[in-house]
Assembly symmetry: C2
Homo-oligomer: 432 residues x 2
Amino acid sequence: MLRIVTQRTEAESEIKRICDRIYDDQMIHKEATVTEIIQTVRRKGDTALLRYTSEFDGQDFTSAELRVSGSELDAAYQQVKGGLLKAIEMAHQRIEEFHKMRVPKSWVHFGDKDIVLGKRYTPVDAAGIYIPGGKAAYPSTVLMNAVPAKVAGVKKIVMVTPPGQERTINPAILVAAQVAGVEEIYRVGGAQAIAALAYGTETIPKVDVITGPGNIYVTLAKKQVFGRVGIDSIAGPSEVLIIADASANPTYVAADMLAQAEHDQMAASILLTNDSRLANRVSEEVNRMLENHPRRLMTEKAIAHYGLIVVVDNLNTAAELSNQFAPEHLELEIEEPWQLIDQIRHAGAIFIGHSTPEAVGDYLAGPNHTLPTCGGARYSSALGVETFLKHSSLIQYSPEALKEVSGAIALLTEAEGLPSHGDSVRLRLQDI
Amino acid sequence: MLRIVTQRTEAESEIKRICDRIYDDQMIHKEATVTEIIQTVRRKGDTALLRYTSEFDGQDFTSAELRVSGSELDAAYQQVKGGLLKAIEMAHQRIEEFHKMRVPKSWVHFGDKDIVLGKRYTPVDAAGIYIPGGKAAYPSTVLMNAVPAKVAGVKKIVMVTPPGQERTINPAILVAAQVAGVEEIYRVGGAQAIAALAYGTETIPKVDVITGPGNIYVTLAKKQVFGRVGIDSIAGPSEVLIIADASANPTYVAADMLAQAEHDQMAASILLTNDSRLANRVSEEVNRMLENHPRRLMTEKAIAHYGLIVVVDNLNTAAELSNQFAPEHLELEIEEPWQLIDQIRHAGAIFIGHSTPEAVGDYLAGPNHTLPTCGGARYSSALGVETFLKHSSLIQYSPEALKEVSGAIALLTEAEGLPSHGDSVRLRLQDI
């Protein structure tokens, strides 16, 4: 069921097919629905939110109940066991420590003739975090979105998440939010939640940046409001690419492939190896492990459609194919991983060596688990503190410095046909 | 014609109106046209490009002539006067110097138990730069887009720009491109050029990031292909906000306002001042200067619709109103500009003091002139080296480090219902 490919051309076309899996027709057909939801929320505010929540989530309540109350937040602590709370706190601490490393700082540079140049970093005023609900309740996602916003210094952080039965929110999510310092939480999901964050309603404040994963409607809504607000990325289904050699343990590799596949029936798990014996053993292990898998049906679908093993001549070829795919997660289960890293041009996160399963990074190693998918690593990076920061360029010229460049500016403004640009310099020169 | 407002509430509603000027109906109606152009280029490649170029630019030629030839590149040097060439070279040098400051560098951090964490920065493989053509031929824009890509280390930089009469490209643009080290240039513009860069055609290579300004079709096309490729921003019409006090020279302020207005009839020029005498004198000066302005008609329209003077009680109020607008360009023509800077939360670039007109930054001060417009400074920043870089997170755990966190990961995977995530750690522990 997990196919093994040995031909280079077949491998390349399979990798391209898997990489393009997000560009399915389903996106186009849902565009119009999402546009309508956004426009309705923009016009009708809370009323639209409550109507969509009734329709899509089957939950009915009033505007006043949109926000999760203080007593619900308190109660969540009672429902989360001590061990899990400690685990959330440990993850929070490690994620925070990592995100505090190398945060961009404001700077100025003093040049000749009293020229001052620089960059001044400031956080966004308000950030909105989308957390999926339903079956997939991920406290780790709360931490991965809230921590970088907090470290960036964002004063107002708002979380939205769709309500479950009896309009409840998963208590682990509420606890993770509080551990991360987020207490303004609204029970609303889907495209309507994104519209509320982008335009504001009577109850939900307008924010400047929206981050967080979601289903196809959430993703399309984020793309549509981009430009009105900032967004983290256009997230697609998750993926792992593993490069392994004879030193790899087939059981570990198989477990890592299934850990990806169990997320979603569109999740992709690819193994590139120079050892055909390993290829066969991993394939067998995956089949064996699938037999008793609690999420067998979905996981099997993902493996069948988007699972692949490629046997390559050598690890250089593996690096080349990996660069063509530009994986969200790359695992290097090889004897000398650091020697191959220089050949990796595109990857969201690289998990190095035999004792670094992706799960370590998913939960608590520190680096963000929100990563570019479906080839996005060719041009973008993990969610981070930078997502919530921006900078202003700083420029100060002295009269002498202005005089020095005035001739060049005059020629350039003339070439571009912008007379007032020239005047703005020329008039000042008269007084120098 | 240049209105003076003194009431706070009127000022705020005017500022909001001007800030929202990009969200006009015109965008929505052109969406479908742009979608069709992109899909056609995707299906028909060069054939579609040539057909659209004939239709929209009135220029007919073959695929083989899409690329600007070596002899055209050479000839451009003959058409650009020595002084202008020197000005382009001076601008290039200053822009390059600034962009080389504080470029993010790869790093690793060594933690307890042989944990290694870090970030590894790499450039995108290929970048596409869009340069507008027609009346507005801006060599400065070539430098502002090409230099950060070069400094980032991008190996393949491709430029597109629409052809003028007899399919020529403005020689100053061709010279600026060569000074910046870009020699792969195609004569194609509009949404069709963006589609070509995003999907590739027989002649034009697919790139990973597309940057550069353009008209409404170019902007909509960039938004549509975002996700398939990276883009710099959704650019709107340009704007300046000037904060001035009694120390400001009304002639300088008026020239700076017109230097913005002359770009485009949707350009915005706003003055906030605590000195009502200055307000009146600037308004008079603007009227006087407009009389003989070579681009009077357009500039007058911009001033009439999107020009505004607000008299405020004090400079703190000016800073607050400026933050509401989040200007692309902010000029501080006040006695103590550095004292006000801490109150500025959102601005693309800040021009400090009386001898720093925006034109200095537009051409050669060094910082990038591609800046967020229409409120984009609330969440985004200037084009820069970072636009062409991305990073991979690096994570390496030792067996001991994995063992230490295994309990926490087990609890988290259980809470999230992801058994294989748990297995991927548990199976490894058996061998430690």
